[in-house]
């Protein structure tokens, strides 16, 4: 390229200038869609290399066979058939996988409802009642406090609070509200939901807050001027406009809780089944194809939930 241009320049400088303008106009003719592909390119590559390709491997491995110490790359549905073992034979009793998913979905639903409720009002407070930007920032950072400790520390920290001889129980016994310490405070579904809500409300607060601060304040004034009550403004103006944030926050919370096994394990005393827990046990036993099959099942179910949610709100359009 360079050498030929040099030769050209020596021969006729005018010609070179002409070709430069031609090139410039060619660049201008690059379609906008090409440019946006170019901009999205690096992210797409990362996504491809670290998400899509590994995912394809997971799906492939889920159809492999295995023995005690290695993967056998031969087609086998064993990972799946083992997983659904007894699902028909045991009817009307539920099989392990059905029980596990019912439990996981139940926990997921509870955590979702509670984080949505708390998250919505925290975001509402931050967006409409806190006027200074600095305070808004500072207060939302406060919501990250639960992430400052590790799971093990958190587990150890809950025992003195919720345990049989913990603060809450001894407080309740002293006030005479109960005679004996209650057991369901710790290592129960209650404690699992509590810990998950404690952790993940933050993921609700941030997107909802983000949607709320973008609501044009004049809309709220207009609603007020038109005689709407506070409740009517909330239902007809704020909630519809905060919907994208609500859906994004919900997707965060639901995907995390569906795959969680550490918090459920630690807070549930390892006695509560979770979809992620099955995968962990299989991986630890070096049964990778079975683990991969379970991962694919979990992925499909989570994907279905998210598809349903995005049916309610078209996130792409709203953003």
């Amino acid at each position: 390229m360079d050498t030929s241009e040099d030769i050209l320049q020596q021969a006729s400088p005018d010609l070179v200038r002409g070709s430069e303008t031609a090139r410039r106009s060619k660049a201008a003719r690059l379609s906008p869609s090409f440019i946006s592909w170019l901009q999205a390119g690096p992210m797409m590559l990362v996504f491809l290399a670290f998400f899509l390709i590994p995912l394809v491997f997971v799906v492939i491995v889920s159809f492999w066979d295995y023995n005690e110490y290695q993967l056998l790359p031969a087609f086998s549905g064993r990972g799946y058939t083992d997983t659904f073992e007894g699902c028909i034979a045991q009817l009307p009793d539920l099989c392990t996988i059905a029980k596990t998913y019912l439990k996981t979905l139940k926990l997921c639903f509870l955590v979702w409802i509670i984080t949505l409720f708390i998250g919505f009002w925290v975001a509402y407070f931050l967006a409409f009642h806190v006027k200074s930007k600095t305070w808004q920032m500072g207060l939302s950072l406060l919501c990250t406090i639960p992430f400052w400790t590790s799971n093990v520390i958190r587990m150890i920290a809950w025992i003195p609070l919720l345990g049989r001889n913990g603060l809450v129980n001894s407080g309740l016994v002293k006030t005479g509200l109960i005679n004996h310490p209650v057991e369901w405070l710790l290592f129960s579904e209650f404690s699992v939901v509590l810990a998950l809500v404690h952790l993940f409300t933050f993921f609700m607060v941030v997107p909802i807050f983000n949607s709320m601060v973008r609501i044009d304040k004049s809309l709220i004034e207009a609603a007020y001027d038109a005689g709407a009550t506070g409740f009517q403004t909330l239902v007809n103006v704020i909630i519809p406009l905060a919907k994208p944030g609500i859906v994004i926050g919900s997707i965060f919370v639901i995907t995390i809780v569906m795959g969680d096994f550490i918090t459920i394990g630690v807070m549930g005393g390892q006695q509560i089944a979770a979809a992620g827990k099955i995968i962990e046990t299989r991986v630890n036993a070096l049964q990778f194809p079975a683990a991969a099959a379970n991962a694919v099942i979990l992925l499909v179910i989570t994907f279905l939930i998210i598809t349903m949610m995005s049916r309610i709100v078209d996130i792409k359009k709203e953003l």
């Binding site: 005690e68 110490y69 290695q70 596990t100 587990m155 290592f187 390892q270 006695q271 036993a285």
Partner: protein, 429 residues
């Protein structure tokens, strides 16, 4: 140079001195890294993959002092160690793992058997490993993956366990112990003598077992057998029906609310017991010691049905050869030479070579930990903290009594895949 030879004042010696100084300077600055001189000064480093049991900082410091070998610990849980051997065999040099995982590791061909003739103390290794009996001649229970069943390979690159002694050793024994139930005598307030007590409704909501399937099922089997419900041919290698039966008993207990929580981590077990959330649970000896050092009564209760035992040892990755392999032998020989053994004994574990460990312990320490005698003086942990006051006696007594009372060993069963599925079902129930 010409001047040097002419003038007698500048002798050969001075010349050597100055050139050596220059070379030293160059080596120090890292200018000439390719020279053999610098190669020999390269630090001897071994990457050591294992669980936290053997991985004391004091051990690695002492090893560096004695042998010049720097140990880099890679710490993982029992399951993750095995996973790493299978998937990343080049990420470590020395492997410290349990005998029961050999059934998975050896067929994978990712480890190298060590040569018994190069281990100085090999003939002094306790007969627990080589003959399945205590030094005093007591026969040890062989159910499960007992070490003597998997100690030797048929050949250097063989994947088959030899039935009689060969020079190819899968794992050079290091540490082992006899596990049983830990109890809170201050809360239970009556003698406990059987594994069946774990499922006694008296302790409803206050019992716990391990959530590591291959170990948990052994504890469960001890309970089932102790309660007279079934007698296994081999607890460590159950048939599908036996697994079903064992899990059924455990599932009923779980549904009835017998268990407070299952634990997986050393600290979890300590916390459950210390906080009084549980009063009876399967436990490890140092965990009991830790609860006790917090001033809380806790007993590592000997039971009439016997102990569930485990053992671990060293081998090397198949990628290790040459000088590194020699360092590995040097390290293993050092490990068996006494310091590490005494260190492990003082934590309540047992060392593989008893004679060298004894030489590194005070007579009163040996009497307390190994002979089951009352402590003459206060018993201290390796870090110097007080473990037991003078007069205390070790739970379960002497080495002979404890190791002689072993009923079964941690195991990987032939039906392991089925067992893991049933374990998931148990958790979901």
């Amino acid at each position: 140079m010409t001047e040097t030879t002419r003038k007698k004042g500048l002798s050969r010696r001075t010349l050597l001195k100055s050139t050596a100084g220059l070379a030293g300077l160059a080596a120090g600055s890292g200018a000439i890294t390719g020279f053999p001189y610098v190669m020999s000064a390269e630090p001897k480093v071994l990457r050591y993959l294992g669980t936290a049991v053997n991985e004391g900082d004091d051990i690695s410091k002492q090893c560096l002092k004695d042998t010049g070998i720097k140990i880099e610990y890679i710490t993982a849980t029992t399951d993750d160690v095995t996973k790493r051997v299978m998937t990343q065999p080049n990420s470590f040099d020395v492997l410290d793992t349990e005998y029961f995982s050999l059934k998975k590791i050896v067929p994978s061909g990712n480890i190298l058997a060590l040569d018994a003739r190069k281990i100085k103390e090999f003939d002094n290794i306790t007969p627990v490993f080589t003959k399945g009996q205590t030094p005093g001649g007591k026969k040890i229970g062989s159910q499960g993956t007992a070490p003597w069943k998997v100690l030797y390979l048929e050949g250097k690159d063989s994947k088959k366990f030899a039935t009689s002694a060969t020079e190819f050793v899968t794992l050079i024994p290091t540490v082992y112990n006899a596990d049983t139930l830990g109890i809170r005598p201050d809360i239970i307030k009556r003698p406990i003598s059987s594994w069946s007590e774990l499922l006694n409704p008296e302790f409803k909501g206050k019992a716990s077992i391990l959530n590591i399937p291959s170990i948990g099922i052994m504890d469960a089997a001890m309970v089932v057998e102790a309660s007279g419900k079934y007698k296994y041919a081999d607890k460590g290698n159950m048939t599908k029906e036996e697994i079903d039966l064992t899990m059924k008993v455990m599932t009923e207990a779980k549904k009835a609310g017998q268990f407070r929580a299952f634990w997986k981590d050393f600290n979890e077990s300590v916390n459950l017991m210390a906080s009084g959330e549980t009063v009876i649970q399967s436990m490890w000896s140092p965990a009991v010691t830790k609860v006790r050092s917090m001033g809380i009564a806790c007993t590592f209760q000997p039971l009439k049905e016997g102990y569930r035992s485990w053992a671990s040892g060293f081998c090397v990755s198949k990628g290790v050869s040459g000088a590194k392999l020699e360092w590995a032998y040097e390290f293993v020989n050092w490990f068996l030479s006494g310091y590490a053994g005494a260190y492990l004994n003082r934590q309540g574990y047992y060392s593989a070579v008893l004679s060298t460990a004894k030489a590194h312990m005070e007579p009163y320490e040996w009497a307390y930990w190994m002979e089951g005698k009352a402590a003459e003086k206060d018993i201290k942990a390796p870090d110097g903290s007080l473990l037991e006051k003078a007069g205390a006696v070790r739970d379960g007594g002497s080495y002979e009594d404890r190791m002689g009372g072993v009923a079964c060993w941690n195991a990987v069963m032939d039906e392991n895949d089925y067992m893991v599925r049933k374990w998931n079902e148990f958790i979901a129930a």
